[in-house]
Symmetry: D2
Subunit: 326 residues, 4 copies
């Protein structure tokens, strides 16, 4: 089928490529003309602006937005609303906050437009491996765009089937799931990323304990120099902690087990934060997911005000004079 | 080669089976004669006690202990020391605390005996999938038992190779690693389990947030009934959080997504606790691994004394009279 | 001066009493006529509804709302807006979310009305000890209501002066602080409560460790039966952890050190949650404050879904058959 | 009564001074002769070594050790054992691990010597305010040294009595408590310090949220510049979070609310760590106390290996190219 794609960054460009490989026709637009041209050279129809993109699509249209969450997505959607017509479908494949999905879908509904939110996991690997997708929207609309979704999804591949799934929605085993009403796709993707933070932090803490095991303060016969690259590799094979994140870790450590070229400051995106807010709204304890988020906050805190405060208190009650600096 | 196995529970029995399938000859003993007999029926040589087991092995002997960590292992080792001779090797494949390994190896060394600690992951799946093993001990001794280790290990299988590993120890890619001196195998296995707790807790918290998303307190358009079995399944395919633990979770949820038949009280074994102690010894922060452990502690606390204390304070300053029960 | 008070619950009633003791004239209203009458019997002027209350106040009026945060406060304010006139002042002394203050103040401003938010700490003890108040609003308006604030505040009392405060705002040492613009009073009160949760949890965990020190699993010479009431009492005297919360704890433990009559389920109010959301907005790590909040969530979770999930995984990889119940 | 004091640092010297003010006779020794001389000039009898100290004491002797926990205390005790005689009492007033107390007391008992452990809180303020003491040892021995303890303790002072304490041990209200057998004094002091960490961290996190409230990323009408010194001061007066630690914080902030002269690296001593180990031994969740400890560990971690690991994983799955440095 024919589909419009707006936003041709790392994710959007590859989504277009994978769709074209699957036989779909893409009309593409990026505010950077070179990005548009690049994909046009690979077989897509380039558009010079949103109006052009809409004009080049046959109604009822399907437009996939793949833009940074927030203002850019919001503004593009506002512009697009004015250009689209009854029964057209807008898909937001970015990392939008699910409450924004709900609000937007209600606005579009007034004009007879449909909105589908697609939480998309797969990163730079999606072009080859396919994208794991969590989808929120009306039943028939999600069915309408199924040709697109089924091409983007990884498919069954050689992943062993889970027992006891007879009679269940077969799309899920191909790597895409229609979760429920608008917003539910991004909600599940949001929690996915929250879990991702927790998993990453669990590995990071464990490897930190291994890495420090040769510190001079330990008794000599309890000190080990542990080859972290080998540990990550061996755990990939038959251990309980094997995972795709571990595969990536094994790769990074094999290149340089000191990881010296990686930043000590770790970014966090909206999903990790929204996951905690969702937990709090539901009164669900989220110790691990929060701790993972806070570690990232801490990694970027240069001022260290709370630590100074602890030092000030220690000085106050104990006269720990070594602490005040100069 | 020939090997003695002491302890024929879930793990020990299957280790014997996998070794025999690999062409090794096993002399086996369990304090429960039926367990010994069962394995004898499958081709092993049964022994009626430790002395008999030692007698049936040709020197220099190799004996694999697969017993619950703690007193039983300790006592068996004490008995075995008196029976073994110079250059014999004792392998502890259980979940022993690595400082106990160090102490024991020093004792055995005085008698010319060798000690190897093997942290063994794989659980009930090891018979088919093979066991991921982390090994501590002297270099030549670990080499001597390589025929045993290589049969128990999962081997390369169809797991994609990690790039940039040329020139590294090939055993690691087959699923077993000689980490370093005595104790280091169990140390790495210990941290492995600590990470396991953290990973499990990350999933549990995330699914809890999904599961609660239809609670009545939320605004109606923000409530979703999410099919947890499908979420677990879809994340197995191309998502960042795919892992073996997720595979298992998907299986459990597919059977019954309410998990009603599983206990609300979660056990913890030594490794999770020792991991935190190791972190503290090294002054390494372990927020996530600790939180995971504490959740298990909390799951078994019926008294809830600290919660009563919070209620008492709230009553004290706020007269929150609803709280004191009757 | 004359002041209207709306809401005569535990807090509002005592605020009225303290104001009358300080020589102020109170016009009071509660939707429960008996509450209004009770305070009228103590010298206040009772009003039969909001209109009556406004009518009995001389312009420019000052009305103190002391209502549960949320819908009731919101509705009352909507009604009041229609009754009040230019330059009248509304004070919200409840536990309102500071972003609601900002929104409301902007609405009132359009009518020439003023809004002051007063975060009020002191609970049931405030009548005697005075109320610690954190205030947000316009400078001259906060000055206008100073006679009211200074009477409600605890005053200097016999609390030792902090050195190096010369030249600073003297109101602060009397127990009330004009923090800044509208919302800032409730913001500081919100963080105050967040800290309160953290402090309470620190004590609860510590006493839990003391309380469990006689458990049968410990080596006999490491078991102690510790008198918790005495510990709390002795720490009140010269120790680093002395505090008002500890005073209250000592009182509760002296009555019954088992705390059997207190609930194991601990409520949380909005402030603890909003504090975490504020931390996340600011990218400030809040490990301890979050952990304290989550403990309360956990205390009320009967389903224990995440724990079941851990059990299901343990069963999946280890065949820990003891876990599935029945 | 007469008492020997070994170790005349910040704590030991002031303990000697307070005892002399209370009419006791002190024989003092420090390995630094100037420290010994300083106290001799204030009325104590100086000793030139341990033997001299023992010789100058009348049997049955009482010797108070006030030394850094660990090797120094251990060595001194070993030397002292050889010099003391039947029924002499050694008091360890330092921050010794309670399991070391138990071991040492057993050794001393063989020689007919007595051991008392005194957990001592009060820091540099103890000379004036008195020391809060938690005591472990035999009943009659603790009674024997009561004259010393009652002088060191703060006494009732003007701290309001806790209701419902009639018939309880009156020593507790004077600020010292005989907890139970040997080790129990240091155990309670250990938990005291664990709680201290938690309380400090709760304040530090809360003030961090206040301090960051004027960050540029927030909407303009939600930004406040909050005077932290004033907040700490106002909370001292009638609020739920008032405490001695808050008094100290208010003092530090009044001097310089930026706390620029205080270190961002925060030390931790044994008690905080041992508290977590005790929690783990007892299977007691200690989320807040652990988080407080880990924050200190993190404050001193320059390498930030786990953060690099997170960056490496993010790069691995998302191609977040901004992260690898250079």
């Amino acid at each position: 089928m024919q589909i419009g794609i707006v936003g041709l960054g790392r994710m959007g460009g590859n989504i277009g490529r994978r769709l074209m490989r699957g036989g779909h026709k893409c009309v593409v637009y990026d505010h950077n003309p070179q990005a548009t041209e690049a994909l046009a050279n690979e077989g897509a129809t380039g558009a010079k602006d949103l109006g052009d993109l809409v004009a080049k699509l046959t109604a009822p249209r399907v437009v996939w937005l793949m833009l940074p969450a927030g203002k850019i997505t919001e503004d593009t959607l506002d512009d697009l609303r004015k250009l689209l017509g009854k029964d057209d479908v807008v898909i937001d494949g970015g990392n939008t906050f699910y409450k924004d999905d709900i609000r937007r879908a209600a606005q579009l509904r007034e004009q007879g437009l449909h909105y589908v939110d697609v939480g998309t996991s797969g990163g730079i690997w999606g072009l080859e491996r396919g994208y794991c997708m969590m989808i929120g929207g009306e039943d028939d609309v999600v069915r309408r765009i199924d040709p697109v979704l089924s091409v983007l999804a990884p498919g069954r591949g050689d992943i062993p089937a889970t027992p006891d799934r007879d009679g269940r929605d077969p799309r899920v085993e191909k790597g895409y799931m229609h979760v429920g009403p608008v917003g539910s796709g991004h909600f599940v993707k949001m929690v996915h990323n929250g879990i991702e933070y927790g998993l990453m932090q669990a590995y990071a803490e464990g490897f930190h304990i291994l890495e420090h095991k040769d510190m001079a303060e330990l008794p000599e016969d309890q000190r080990y120099r542990i080859d972290l690259a080998d540990v990550a590799e061996v755990w990939r094979r038959g251990s309980v902690v094997s995972s795709w994140l571990l595969d990536l870790t094994a790769g990074a450590l094999a290149q340089d087990s000191s990881l010296q070229h990686f930043s000590t400051e770790v970014a966090d995106s909206g999903e990790g934060r929204w996951t905690i807010e969702a937990a709090i709204e539901e009164a669900v304890p989220a110790q691990v997911l929060s701790a993972a988020l806070y570690t990232r906050f801490r990694s970027r805190d240069i001022e260290a005000f709370p630590e100074r405060m602890l030092s000030a208190m220690r000085f106050g009650f104990g006269g720990h004079k070594e602490f005040p600096v100069k």
